[in-house]
Amino acid sequence: MGQLVVTEFISLDGIIEDPGGSEGTPNGGWSFRSPAPEGQHFKFEELQASDVQLMGRVTYEGFAAAWPAMEEATGDFGKRMNSMPKVVVSTTLTDAAWNNTTIISGNVAAEVTKLKGRYEGDVLVSASATLVDTLREHDLVDEYRLMVHPVVLGSGKRLFKEGAAGTDLELVDSRKVGPDVLLLTYRPASKRS
C-alpha cells in the first residue's frame, strides 16, 4: 500500500501557494529566490519513489500548462512528470488533457484510500492547499516534507489554515538542502508505527 506524501515548498509564514510561479499570483515564483541544489536532487529522488501524483485543480492547471513544454529544460525530471500517472481532484474539471491524468470528482476520502491501495510506491501531493486540508481532515496524510524557504510572504494560501483541527507530529528528519533552505520531514503522530 502506498504512503501518501505531502511535499511542499513553504515560506516561513506557512504559505505554500504558487512557489513556481505557474499560477501567476503576485508572489508567485518565490521558491526560485533561494538556491537549493541538494533540494533539487531530493525532489528527483522523491519523484522516482512515487507511483502517482495527486493534486488539486488549481495546482493541476498550473502544472498541466507548464510541464509539457519543459522536458528539454528539465530532462528526466520533466519526462517523469509528464509520463507518470496523475490524479486530479475537482468537481468542475471535465477534461484533463495532460498525459496520463484521471479525475476524481467526488467521494474524495474513499477514492484516495483506494488510490493508496492500488500502488506500492508513494502517492505524491505537491502544493494543492485545499486538497491537503481535505486529506488531513480524513487522516490520509502519512508524511509531510516541508522545504522551508527563508521568506515571509505576508499573504497566500497556507498549508495549515486558520481554524483547522490541531495535529500532533513527529520530527523524522531535518537537514539543509541549500544555504538558506531547510527540509523538515514530519509524520502525524496518529501514524506512529
Binding site: D13, P150, V151, V152, L153, G154, E162, G166, L169, L182
Partner: protein, 188 residues
Amino acid sequence: MTVGAIKVHEFIALDGVFEDPSWTFEFGFDPKMGEAIGAITGTCQAILLGRRTFEVFAPAWSTRTAEEDPGAPFFNESPKYVVSGSLKTAEWNNSAILGRYSADTIRDLKDQVDGDIYVSGSGTLVRAMLADGLVDELHMFVYPVARGAGQRLLADSGPATKFTLARSEAYGNGVVHLAYAPVAPDAA
C-alpha cells in the same frame, strides 16, 4: 559603542501559532535547547516586550527563583522596556514604559542599550519591527504540532521579507531551532 542587535525568540507551532505556548510543556525541555536559549539571552542587556506579553511575563517570572528556573535572574533583573500606549504602571522590577510603538523609539533604545536586546512573544511588536527592518535575529523554536487555532506570529498582510538562515539545530524532543537574519530590502 556598537549598536546592539535585536534578538527575537519565539516558541512556535508548525502552523505558526505562538499564542500561550503552554502546549510546549508536553515536549519537555531538551538541555541543548536550554543552551541555545542561553546563548541568545547571554549577550542581551535588556528585554523589550509588547504590553500583552509583559502582562503575562511580569507575574509569572517575578515569583520564580533561580533555583526554580535558571532563566529567572535574566528576566527579573535585566532592564525591561514595554511598548504600550495604554499601560500606566509597570510594577515588575526594573521595568520602564516606552509608550506607543514607533520605529524611532526602538532605534533610540538600540543606541542606548550597551548590548543586545531580547524580545519574546510580543507578536504585534515583532511584526511592526520586522516591517521596519529593526529585527536582527529571529530565533524560532518550531514544535512538531499544528495547533489549528490561535494567534500566529507572522499574520496575513505583513510585507514580504527575505531572510538568510544563520543556523539550524534539531533536538531529541522534535523541536527545531531556526535562526534567521532578515535581509535588508535594498540588499535583497
